[in-house]
Subunit: 334 residues, 2 copies
DNA sequence: CTGAAAGCGCTTACAG
DNA sequence: CTGAAAGCGCTTACAG
């Protein structure tokens, strides 16, 4: 690899001058600029990012802090949105590999050693051991789906409450009243908000909530399976269930089918996320849409704004949600 | 951030000595080592990776070159495997953001500026404009599912041919002879090998291949949809179809159902990949299993071996495949 | 408009 | 066993 010295020597100028043309400084004569540019091409010179970063104290790099599996379709679509927004931004994404063999591994120190300019976090619980340290650091951060704020930390999420309320409303309009809710954990904002949405939605229609109908679970298919099994075991089972993820809904529907009942004839099911598979699944899933790739893109865009302008106040962004009615909801049996 | 100088000053030693204890050099007295270690903890010092990389000429970083969407379930599972293997390895993954606004953007130059120690490539076609440059460079590379080799490049793939042959055999045993094949593009090794597998599989059972039954497509659901539409329009339609991805199979099955026929009663369908969703989909998909996460892990492991030992010959690794029979294959109607 | 020099935070011969 | 010094490849006042 040619270095800036090679270019300087070849072009017959100083390294300072080469640096100036690389960085598009105005105080270089056209003649010199041309000569240097030519030499750069000729030598296939490309600035060493580490060296530049060393003096500038940055890395043009954004770290990700994802606590869930990449096979989670939400994460895939989020990453896709992140990738798109990163395109042409000059920043690269780095996946910080956690070192589990080191008992006092610190995500923040890892970011600091790598000089990461910002991080986007997903699936971060309020009690995550790394969270406080991250908020105290001066690393610009955007959380996805967590209402965590800090001096340099903002977040982006979907209209969670409104989304669930729409789902409830849809079921009520179809004539359901024995409505169940498979909630996510209540240690994260998303879980709490969707839970509130359910409660408020029911209240808005003067429906009482049967405590047996509310199950706390995780967002996985297995979680949906388990919760649905419990619900089917009740004396009076619900006629409709609102799930807080598509995966949970898939699990629930499979259980219902396996027990000889059918969706939506016997039980209506609604998901949340509108991931790619909700359309492929059969029956196609009625679900609350979040525009996931756009959440990823916006997270990156505001993160970069925060990085490049330290005055930029950490944003709180809320993306709209809307119900997508497909084939898993219908009127209850008489 | 404390620097090595701060530590040296605080501990009352030289920076050279601090460097030696950081790097576990033996020629440091126990007393000094202890003192320095203590100071490091106290100051929460962590070496700057960029500075270290600058002098060592490396970055402890692996780049990914993925041409498809992250929402592709194969990619998700691959990334998950990669993530696992990276854990505790000391390497971080970097997603090099392509700069489409720059007509002469070069992936290799990007790698060189970032000083990436190695790259794993997926979805790279033989005629990719960046490929030759990459092979000529001295960057250690592992390709996934592409039979590309170079001085510093190896690859890892699944037993593609054998996998398809098993699929054909399964159908023949069920009594099928009008077997169709929805192939991937033939510009990549995977496509060619699976195609060969089909041809050989048919031949092995003395079945002739109806040219109308072989459709070239991409690996997407839309691709499967299109191909299946063509097949259904034939005068004599096949009784079974072997697809080269699960997504294609999902598309094909949806088309079949939409046309009023049923799977597997009217037409048997086999997928390829055994991604997470093949089990969730209903009917659950009969498919050729690839152990995708393990492909990702092995790619990283051999890549790191190549990076750390320049004598390590670029490997060619083949993972086994096996047919997973679920609910989309059955005897043909009489 | 141009360049010499210091410095970013490390590592590594080398001398003692 | 310890440390002074050079150097990795850049950028940035500053002087001219």
């Amino acid at each position: 690899m040619a270095s800036i010295h090679d270019v300087a020597k070849e072009a017959g100028v100083s390294v300072a001058t080469v640096s100036k043309v690389i960085n598009n400084y105005p105080d270089v004569s056209d003649k010199t600029r041309k000569k240097v540019s030519q030499t750069i091409k000729q030598l296939k010179y490309h600035p060493n990012v580490a060296a530049r970063g060393l003096v500038k104290g940055r890395s043009w790099t954004v770290g990700v802090f994802v606590t869930t599996s990449f096979t989670n379709p939400f994460v895939s679509e989020l990453l896709e949105g992140i990738k798109t927004a990163l395109q042409n931004s000059g920043y690269d994404l780095v996946l910080l590999s956690t070192r589990f063999d080191d008992p006092n591994y610190s995500f923040v120190e890892h970011c600091l050693s790598r000089n990461v300019d910002g991080v986007v976090g997903f699936g971060v619980a309020r009690n995550d051991p790394h969270l406080e340290e991250l908020l105290e650091s001066d690393i610009a951060t955007m959380f996805v789906d967590a209402d965590i704020r800090g001096r340099r930390a903002g977040y982006i999420t979907t209209e969670n409450k409104a989304g669930i309320m729409q789902a409830v409303e849809h079921l009520v309009e179809l004539g359901h009243s024995r409505i169940s809710f498979i909630s996510g954990e209540l240690d994260k904002a998303v879980g709490v908000l969707r839970h509130e949405g359910f409660m408020e939605g029911m209240k808005a229609h003067n429906l009482s909530v049967n405590p047996d109908y509310v199950r706390i679970s995780d967002y996985s298919m297995e979680g949906g399976t388990r919760a649905m099994n419990d619900l089917l075991a009740l004396n009076e089972r619900p006629t409709a269930v609102v799930c807080t993820s598509d995966m949970m809904a898939f699990g629930a529907i499979n259980v219902i089918h396996r027990s000889g009942l059918s969706v939506p004839e016997d039980i209506s099911v609604i998901g949340f996320d509108n991931t790619y598979y909700s359309e492929i699944f059969s029956p196609a899933l009625t679900t609350v849409n979040q525009n996931i790739p756009s959440i990823g893109s916006h997270a990156i865009e505001t993160l970069i704004a925060m990085i490049e302008n330290s005055d930029f106040a950490p944003s709180v962004v809320t993306e709209p949600s809307n119900l997508v009615v497909r084939c898993t909801t219908a009127k209850p049996r008489k």
